[in-house]
């Protein structure tokens, strides 16, 4: 389990743990990033926000937030 910020573009990941306070976690869940959902990292340029594709939509996430979302690789 490691922070989403450390993923690479093209990685297939599964969301394991969400942190960062109730408000933001709820928002992530509303947008389809619940624990257990699978996503693909579309953009991670090691600076600025990330883009992940989840449940058919592209979601941009700030880098700070991506440090608080823990994921695992899906093989």
């Amino acid at each position: 389990m490691y922070p989403m910020a450390f993923t690479r573009e093209g990685d297939k990941i599964i969301i394991k743990d969400l942190n960062g306070g109730q408000g933001i976690v709820g928002r992530l869940v509303d947008m389809g990033l619940n624990v257990g959902s699978e996503a693909v990292v579309v953009r991670n340029q090691n600076t600025g926000p990330l883009i992940v594709s989840v449940k058919g939509s592209n979601i941009a996430l700030g880098r700070g937030l991506a440090m608080k979302i823990f994921v695992d690789n899906v093989r």
């Binding site: 953009r43 600025g48 594709s53 449940k55 979601i59 996430l61």
Partner: protein, 667 residues
Amino acid sequence: MKYEIALIGNPNTGKSTIFNSLTGLKQHIGNWPGVTVERKEGEFNYGGFKYKVVDLPGIYGLTARSIDEKVARDYIVNEKPDIVVDIVDASNLERNLYLTLQLIELGANVVVALNKIDLAEEMGYKIDVKKLEELLGIPVVPMVASKNIGINDLKNVIDKSVRKKPTEIIYPNFEPYILKLIDILKQDDDLAKRFNLKYIAIKTIENDKYVSEIVKNSKIYDKLKPVMDEIGNELNKKYEDAELAIAEERYRIISNIVNSATIKKGGELTISKMLDEVFTNKYLGVPILITFLWMAFNFTFNVSDPFSGIIDMIFGWLGDFVKANMGEGWLSSLLADGIIAGLGNVLVFLPPIICMFFAFSYLEDSGYMSRAAFVMDKIMNKFGLHGKSIIPLVMGFGCNVPAIMSARTLEDEKDRILTILVNPLMSCSARLPVYVVFAGAFFSAYAGSVIMSMYVLGVVLALILAYIFRKVIFKGRPSHFVMELPPYNKPNWKNIFGNTWERSSKFLQKAGTIIFAGVVLVWLLSVFGPTGYMGPEALENGELLANSWVAVLGHALEPIFSPMNWDWKATVALFFGFIAKEVVVGTMGVLYGTGEDQLTRALTGAFDPITAYAYMAFVLIYMPCIATVGVIKQEIGTKWAIFSVLYGLALAYVVALLITIFGKLIF
């Protein structure tokens, strides 16, 4: 008999398009998440019944973390519409149904409008609508709203469903707890009458703030509390976090529904992917954004130029015609010197304003704006702003009023107030007339660069002030950045032209009302003085004009601005500019004379390049116009509205003074 229906859905599902098709009303349609924030209403007739349609904001959930979500939830809970039409993006079914499930929980009578099925098919999804209806237990209407397909079916289904009982949703893992809570909740008649108890029970388990308050005020709270605690303990042991557990349960059910109702062949939108490869690139993203803005400005100035010339000519001719044919009376002067001169100088700017609104509507409609937020997030953060702040800021180049309203997509209160406070520094199209007149008169060879420098000055000041306000007033960091990037759209010209027209017509309305009243007021104050009516000669004769009320006002204000060397006429123009910044030019038109030539000659007498540049900067900064102050008050309260006026005045004075001092030192 009149029924009330509400439209709801995730952002970018085509809700506004469906609203327009249902009601035939024209209104604003954008493309970045959360654009329809106001409550919009319309009507249609079907099958002998009248239907009132209420357009709710685009939202992802109903927990009410943002104003948008609160607006939507409160409306459905309190006003209980007969039908809630949930617009679901077929190409993004799983995420969209999350809101649908929450609507069913609320006890709403839901009809699903399954929009964008063409896009879903393009992406390789095949949706079995019958099966979906069966599994959700509610009617589903397949549609392609952008091509007007399915609107009539939707009306038909609304008509059929309006007297139906809402369906119920079962969460197998939580049903025992929910039933236990309902058993106690139903002992409170008042609660049972006002709410769907299942909703209250689910939200109690989720620890929802709004529902907790309701439950706390109920007479059965003493009985409920121990049961709530017991359930809470049990669930926390089982799931770690009860709120997230219910969310997962919803997604589990949705996943089952989607799996049995769709066939997916896989595939994605290659064009959007390719564009994003470039537009969100860490090196190319910002230069591309700047290029687009630069193109928008160039388009604005170059395309509009000949049209402005024509309007200027027409008003010049009108003024001469009135003077030649109506004699020297007061009516002729009111018409020619007041209304035609004042309005003419303002209406010349209708073409660039239309062009600018068109350019921004195009950027919005294409889906690019959310990418702008993406690439600017890091930079905005450095200045204490949020990535999404860029959208209101860019919109501010058009008009600060809708720009400030669009800041509602910022969920965090501090981020939002900060974004709103610096927004007036983004130079709106109303300030353009002032720059054009002055730049033309004093910097003709470099007019373009001088005008551009005003925009840059505004942006730089906005960033600096954001940084200072964040450090001093709103301590802490901007909230986390989360935003959906919708697929790029082929330009929908109907939306873009409609949008441009709606915004431009607001300018025309303003010209016809506030600006009109403003210039008439200036004329009246010019031909009257403490000694009484002086006649229209006052406008021709400097000595007479010096005895008018405007002069009294101007001379009273003049000492304040004496360090900048502005004459009393310029000072008065600033005073009236508070009504709307276009009035600055309108006032000058009345006081200095009609037409660009005459005004230019008069101005070169009253200013030199340095004082003119300082004056331009002052107009940029000094205070938001009445409409903007009003919308600031509406959005974040009187205190901040007053603050924005005061800091604007102070900053404008300091900047104008610095320009004058350093200008004189250097040149």
